[in-house]
Subunit: 462 residues, 2 copies
C-alpha cells in the first residue's frame, strides 16, 4: 500500500466538539463586537432600515390572487408559496378529523450560517434582517436565508449575499447540513436546508453583518425577540456533543420508541380547495376560523423608507394567542434529561416528530375541561416563574408569520411532577441524544430546535 | 448521589457487534439444523404446504373491485392496499412528467425477526412462508411478517404467531427497530417497521420455523430465491459495525451530500384516478402499459391443498423483465467502499434514497441509444460473470409482486470503470456508513438493503 497519498479520513471530526465548546465559552466579546455593544449596533441597523408594514385588504395584494375555482391563494409566478386547504384524519375516531388552511411551499430553501475562526475561536456571521411579520421587524438571522426563488430566476431583486458559500460548498468545510421540518400545524411538508459552513476566505465587512461567537449568540438568546427562528434552528444543528455518562434509554431504545410512535399514529392528509374548508371563512381582510381560534391568513404591504427602493405585498399567517414551548428537565444519576413528546402535526412528512414537553397555544385549549387538557400544560402555566431555568419570548419565521411569538422555557421538575415513567408519547432523553437526532431530518421539530439552540450556544446549562 | 440504583446505561451496547460477528462466523450448523440439511427441510415444508396459484380475470376477484368513478382497485374492507393512479413531475422539463399505476398501502406493517442465544451464539427464527407471487412459492421469511390488517380485526384467519414479541417488546431487548421504505416505483410511500428483538423466552418449536445463525442465513443467501425480501431487509438492519480505518468522505460530508441531492431534485406527486392514467390500459386480465414496459397489474387465486382450508384471491403487480441491482466496489487505502446512487423514485417519502450503483430493469432501457442509458448499466451488463464477487437471483415481496426477480451483484472495479470522483448523484461510501444510515428510515432503499444483508450476514466479504 502506498503511503504517499492517504485518501481516508476519520468518519467524525475529532476536534470539532472542542472547537464549538470553545466558541460557546466566549461570551463577552468576539473579534468584532462586545456583547454589551450589540444592542446599540442593532438599534443603528434598525435606524438605517426603516420599514413600514401595514395590513391591507386582500384586494390590495399585488401579484397574489385567490384562484377562482379553488379559492387557493397563490402568487401569479407559481412560486413562493400557496395557501390552500388540507383535510386531516388522525386515527380512526370522528374527533380526529378536521380541515384547515395550510401553507404549501414545496421548494427547499437554504438557511446558511458561515463560520470562521478569529484568533482560534469560531465566529458565526449573523445578519440584521427585516422580516415583515416580526413585531420589531429587525432580528438576527443566519448569514443566508434564501428560498430557491430568492437565488434563482424568480426574484427580481438583488442576489443573496454569501449564497455561493452554501450552494456549492467545499465538502470538507461543511460542519452541519440537514433538511429540517418547520411548523407542521401551519406548513404542509415544508423543509429547509440547515447548513453551517466554515470558511477561510476573507469575507468583506458589511454593515448588516457581524461575526459573533456561539457564547455571544447564547447571551443574546436571553433577550426577547433578537435571534430569529432561522438562526435558532441552524444553531441547534451545530454538532455539539456534551459529555454524558449515559442515558436512561440507550439510542436503540430511543429509535425504537420513535418507530413505535410513528407506527401507532395513522395520519392521512389530503390537500383540498381552500374555499371548501369547513369551519373557516374569508372576508376582505382575513381567512379565519369561525370560533376565532388557531390562526388567520391576512395580507400586508411592506415599504422600505431607507435608501433601497423596495415595496411589496404578501400574505402572512397570524396565529391567535401566545405560544408556550417548554422542556421539563430532570437529572438522573447526574445526567440531565429532557422530557420529549412525540407530536403528531398534520404537516409533518412522517407522522410524528419530537417536540418539547409542552408545545401549545394555551388560548386554543382554554375552553376545555381540565381532564381534556394536554398533559403538563397546566403544570407549566401555574408554575412560579422563579422555577424557570430559562424564559424568553421568541418569534417564529417573520417572512411567513405575523406576530407569531412563543414563550420558551426550561423547567426542572421532580418525580411527582414529571415521573421517571411518563405517560405514553413521552420519553426522557439527554441533550446529547437530541443532538444526535438533529443530525438527521424530521426527528426534532422546530420548536424543540429553538430550545436545543439554547444548549448548543451555552445560553442554558442544565 | 446514591449508588444503590443506577438508572443510566451506555448509549450504545458495547457487546452487540461482537455477538453479531460471532453469529455470522457460524456457517455450517446452528443449534437446530446443519446448513447442508436445510434444502431437505425446505423441500419437506413445501410438500406439507401445497399451494396452487393461478391467474384469473379481474371479474373473478372476490372482495376486490374497480371503483366505478375512479377506476381504483381496492378491497371492500377499505384495508390491505389500493391500486390507484399517480401523476409525477420530476424537475421542470416535460420529459420529467409521467403517470402510472401505484400501490397505496398507508398502514405500517411489522417485519420482525426474533433472536435468541443458543450455546452463546445468536440464532434467528426464520419461517418457511408461502407468498403467491414467488415462482417457487415457499421461501424463508422473518419470524413475523404482518400487515396491520393481519394482526388487528380485519383479517378473518388465525392470529400471527409470535406477533406479541414485536407489538410490545421489552425495550432493552430490541436490537433494531426502524421504518424502512419499499419499492418507490411500485409503492406510494409505503414503509414497514423492520425489527430485530432478542428473547430469553422458551419458544415452542413449530414445523414451519427454524433457528439459524447469521452465517447460516448468509450461506443460504448464495442460493437463488431462498431468503425472501422481508427477511433480507430486516437482516440489513442488524447493527453490525465493521471495523474500518476511515472513509473517503466523513459522515458529515455524506449527510451533506444527501441533503444536497434531496434539495436539487424537485419531485411533485399527486394521486389520481387509475382510469385516467395516460399510457396505460385495462382489459379483463391486466392493467398494462401500452408499450408493454414497466409492469402490469393482474389478479390471482390462491388455494391451499394441504390440511389448512384456505383460499383467497388478490391483485399482484407483475414487473416486465428481470431486474439488475449491483454495487460497484473499490478498496481505498485498504478499506472497501460501495458506489451509492442517489435515486429519485416517485413513491419515496423524501425525494431520494440511496440505491446500489445500478438498479434497473434493463429491458425498460433497451430501446434507448447508448448515450441515453443510465451510467454503469452497460458496464455491468457486459462484464465477464467471473468478475462478480457475488451473484444470485432474489425475489421481491411475493405478497404484492408476481415473479418480481432481480439479479443481485457485487463487482469490484478499477479507476477506469468507476472513478474516485464519480458523476453527480454517486458517492463512494463504506459498508459501515451504509450500516449507520440504515439505522434511520428513508436513507437506504430496499434493493440496497438486500445487498447490505449480504454483508451483515457475512455472505459477502469485500
Amino acid at each position: 500500500m502506498s503511503t504517499a497519498v492517504r485518501l481516508l479520513r476519520p468518519r467524525t471530526d475529532p476536534d470539532l466538539p472542542a472547537r464549538l465548546a470553545r466558541s460557546a465559552a466566549v461570551r463577552e466579546a468576539g473579534a468584532q463586537l462586545r456583547t454589551d455593544a450589540f444592542g446599540a449596533w442593532l438599534a443603528e441597523r434598525r435606524r438605517a432600515h426603516r420599514f413600514a408594514v401595514e395590513r391591507i385588504p386582500f384586494t390590495a395584494l399585488d401579484g397574489w390572487r385567490f384562484d377562482g375555482a379553488t379559492g387557493d391563494l397563490s402568487h401569479r409566478s407559481g412560486r413562493f408559496f400557496t395557501v390552500r386547504g388540507l383535510r386531516v384524519r388522525v386515527g380512526e375516531g370522528p374527533s380526529g378529523e378536521w380541515e384547515q388552511p395550510v401553507i404549501e411551499q414545496p421548494e427547499v430553501g437554504i438557511l446558511g450560517l458561515l463560520a470562521k475562526e478569529f484568533d482560534g475561536v469560531l465566529h458565526f456571521l449573523m445578519q440584521a434582517k427585516m422580516e415583515p411579520g416580526n413585531r420589531n421587524l429587525l432580528q438576527l438571522s443566519p448569514t443566508v436565508q434564501a428560498t430557491r426563488s430568492n437565488y434563482t430566476r424568480v426574484h427580481r431583486g438583488a442576489g443573496v449575499r454569501h449564497i455561493e458559500q452554501f450552494v456549492r460548498p467545499e465538502p470538507h468545510r461543511v460542519l452541519a447540513d440537514v433538511l429540517q421540518s418547520e411548523q407542521g400545524s401551519w406548513f404542509y411538508r415544508k423543509s429547509n436546508r440547515n447548513m453551517i459552513v466554515e470558511t477561510t476566505d476573507d469575507i468583506p465587512p458589511h454593515e448588516d453583518f457581524c461575526w459573533l461567537t456561539l457564547g455571544q449568540i447564547g447571551e443574546l438568546l436571553h433577550r426577547d425577540n433578537v435571534v430569529n427562528m432561522d438562526a435558532r434552528t441552524v444553531l441547534a444543528c451545530a454538532p455539539v456533543t456534551p459529555p454524558e455518562a449515559g442515558a436512561l434509554h440507550p439510542d436503540t431504545e430511543l429509535l425504537s420508541w420513535i418507530s413505535g410512535e410513528r407506527s401507532r399514529h395513522e395520519v392521512r392528509t389530503e390537500p383540498m380547495p381552500l374555499k371548501d374548508v369547513r369551519g373557516w371563512v374569508r372576508d376582505d381582510h382575513a381567512v379565519r376560523h369561525t370560533d376565532g381560534r388557531y390562526f388567520q391568513v391576512v395580507a400586508v404591504s411592506v415599504e422600505a423608507g431607507s435608501r433601497e427602493v423596495s415595496r411589496w405585498t404578501q400574505p402572512l399567517l397570524e396565529p391567535r394567542g401566545l405560544g408556550l414551548n417548554a422542556f421539563l428537565t430532570r437529572s438522573f444519576d447526574g445526567v440531565p434529561h429532557l422530557l420529549a413528546h412525540a407530536r403528531v402535526e398534520a404537516g409533518f412528512l412522517d407522522t410524528i416528530e419530537l417536540g418539547p414537553t409542552v408545545q401549545y397555544t394555551p388560548d386554543n385549549y382554554a375552553h376545555l375541561a381540565p381532564r381534556d387538557r394536554p398533559p403538563f400544560l397546566d403544570l407549566v402555566l401555574r408554575a412560579d416563574p422563579g422555577r424557570f431555568r430559562y424564559a424568553a419570548l421568541h418569534s417564529e419565521e417573520g417572512g411567513r408569520f405575523l406576530n407569531a411569538e412563543s414563550r420558551y422555557l426550561f423547567m426542572e421538575c421532580g418525580e411527582d411532577e414529571a415521573p421517571l415513567r411518563p405517560p405514553p408519547g413521552y420519553l426522557w432523553i439527554t441533550p446529547g441524544q437530541l443532538g444526535s437526532l438533529v443530525r438527521h431530518g424530521h426527528y426534532v421539530d422546530v420548536e424543540a430546535r429553538t430550545l436545543l439552540s439554547l444548549l448548543t450556544t451555552g445560553a442554558v446549562t442544565l
